[in-house]
Symmetry: C2
């Protein structure tokens, strides 16, 4: 687990003025990685770090780095971060230190200002070749709510408090923030219908999640001890696990969600490294005394004391009318990643316990992050309680699930006493109508 | 759908004598693709076609090809077939014709004999970068049997006859025939146990399947019409979807199989192209009159008349003792791919109906291929009826599920009046004990 060091010092300022602005997601203490190029150019996509409202081209900065930092920067010229992710925590830490020194006040501003691209001028890409995407379901509030809606007589299944439950999902359909998502079609069979029909999804939903990028993998057939788990984690993004509730309801028994999930997953373009998150470590969620203790392979003192991450999550929605009228997006849910029932380390360790191998760039979704009250729900399934509790947007438009033209904006940020606030940038997408 | 042409002529012989042997899987009418190198060498893995007991190096043969065949062969020097898969059916067909002409009697035997490697001297690789692996469940006999075992009061779920049910599975853990598979550990909670324990799987099973390799993909958000579906299919292999039944039983509700499946999938090294399979087309399974007709997007005259593939499937098991004593493997199940409830085209079309994108090299498993009688079951779950019907191997050893040291061998082959018999080669693996 990365330790606090001088790159986290909240007093550090950058020569990139926007990085010192109050409320920026990207101060010099953050330095998240993404893949970018100048919009409209034919440049090769390559790695950058976000700094204020700018992006520093890591390859271009490499000439100013030495030793392990320069070696690590040499892995950042590719159009995906997989090789850098595979390099492991010493390489990541060396490059972070190097980039932090370059971007601080007193760094080589003149030499590097040509290596900056404004984020507003950049096109961002899915930052890794994502070999496999696993989606967990590690939030007890969401699991309990979804269970109460779908199985009123049997809301929380007996395995939930023993297993960090997950399903395999689809890696081909990842898109980066800003790319619209088309409403899927699928077989729908409402309980009242005799037979299913192929129709556009009528219950399109978001799920507010953290995405966890794997760094070095494990060999097929080898497990990962819980205290080694985070050595395999490169960093986190914000992830919207779009969900077609009506398609899912008809298809998902007995083999799990398929078309309900596989038409798109939207991610924030920036990956905040585990080292950048070090100031925001917290204890794992304290389980009620009645709950079972995790099995030994999922337990450790370190995980219990520091396995949590205090990330504030938000989901906002803006309808086409709201955007036309200049009404700001409506905050529909605000929740905390530290309230997950299972920690990142428990998810990673459980994932590998049977010998399944991770590869660098694989992504694990956390599952919907919901709190205990409706203003903290991370999905419309919960907020509208499966369409039984319609609500109004600030425009007066009624919603249960998403309408065409709605934009869903997800955000994550961290703040703590004695640390600089850092954020993840937006994870947003507009819903396009289904094909005729 | 590829048509019969002169490459299918059963009278064709090859100058590679072993390709003319009765019972060979690889006559000149087959020409399946794999990725190989000479065993123990540092050669770059590259594409070859199986011919008799030899492999022809496609790149080395390229100098003898012209036009579209030469262009296609130029895609075969890579260590994976993805670029060739992406090239589409005209390229595939051109190369097949070219290689068929080169390998026939009268072809340039002297010039090409140096481009042959004996299969016994070759190391084979997973032949594609498999972006995503989807496993279907498209055999009604298997679904009914598994349902009767797991849900006696509710064996076949209401969606089964409407949806070609599938789940996302794991692409990282594919291995090629010959690579051993380690028995996984996982959480087990037999019905009689109060709490789960982490233990080695006690109900390790195989599933006899066909693997379908995708050729050209579809754009995210676009569907695939049923009569276009096979334009997206490169070819088929034999696939063993290893299944840890006891791990799966505790974990799989509500999000589907995860650790029950993700520690390994074994494939035959050879991909038999859809064009090679053209002589073995058959009608789709005739549904009983009481069954629903497939929805319009899953129906077409062409699919009904020619959507089936008459592939004979076999699964054999050999224990360590049998191998030590020179006892041949025991045939435990023989079934027919033409008995699938859903066709390949229906699986592909359904997969894309919500806009989920395929990429070249993606794999879809068919689901376990079982017939109606125990000698045609494609899994031990069915054959031992969840361990309630133990059986003996020829060595006298009793089995319900797999023991350490057991080798599972799967085979597929096609024969039809007026066509040369073709086969898939072996898909085999030995079970290693779980880690201590």
């Amino acid at each position: 687990m990365p330790q606090l060091n001088e790159t986290h010092d909240p007093k550090l300022k950058s020569w990139v003025a926007s990085a010192n602005a109050s409320g920026t997601d990207f101060p010099v203490q953050n330095l998240p990685y993404g893949i970018f190029r100048k919009r409209g150019s034919n440049e090769a996509p390559r790695a950058g770090v976000a700094i204020g409202d700018q992006i520093l081209d890591v390859s271009a900065a490499a000439a100013h780095l030495n030793g392990a930092a320069a070696d690590a920067a040499a892995l950042c010229g590719a159009p995906v971060l997989n090789d850098f992710m595979a390099a492991g925590s010493e390489a990541w830490s060396a490059l972070r230190k190097g980039l932090s020194e370059l971007l601080r006040e007193g760094g080589p501003a003149d030499a590097l200002s040509g290596a900056l691209t404004a984020q507003s001028d950049a096109e961002m890409f899915v930052p890794a070749n994502i070999g496999d995407f696993t989606d967990f379901w590690a939030n007890l509030n969401h699991a309990s709510n979804a269970g109460a809606i779908n199985r009123p007589d049997n809301p929380l299944l007996p395995n939930y408090k023993w297993i960090p439950v997950a399903y395999h999902s689809r890696s081909s359909s990842f898109t980066v923030s800003g790319v619209p998502v088309k409403r899927p079609k699928g077989q729908l069979k409402p309980p009242t219908a005799e037979v299913p029909e192929l129709k556009p999804c009528g219950r399109l939903d978001y799920e507010l999640e953290i995405g966890i990028y794997l760094g070095p993998g494990n060999e097929l057939g080898s497990a990962i001890a819980i205290d080694d788990a985070e050595d395999h984690v490169f960093g986190c993004c914000v992830l919207n696990d779009w969900s077609a509730r009506d398609i899912q309801a008809w298809e998902y028994v007995p083999l799990g969600p398929f078309h309900g999930k596989n038409y798109g997953t939207t991610i924030s373009p920036w990956i905040v490294t585990m080292e950048a998150l070090a100031p925001f470590r917290t204890a794992a969620l304290k389980r009620p005394d009645d709950d079972p203790k995790p099995l030994p392979y999922l337990s450790s003192k370190s995980n219990e004391e520091n396995g949590g991450l205090d990330i504030q999550m938000e989901v906002l929605v803006s309808s086409q009318k709201m955007r036309d009228d200049g009404v700001p997006p409506a905050l529909l849910g605000a929740s905390k990643f530290k309230d997950m029932y299972w920690t990142v380390a428990q998810m990673i360790t459980h994932h590998a316990v049977g010998g399944c191998n991770f590869r660098p760039g694989d992504v694990c979704g956390s599952g919907t992050i919901s709190g205990e009250t409706p203003d903290s729900y991370g999905s419309l399934l919960e907020l509208s309680w499966a369409a039984t509790r319609p609500f109004n947007l600030p425009s007066g438009e009624e919603r249960t699930f998403l309408a065409d033209g709605d934009e869903v904006i997800m955000r994550g940020y961290c703040q703590a006493e004695g640390a600089a606030r850092i954020g993840f940038g937006d994870c947003s997408a507009v819903i396009l109508p289904a094909d005729k």
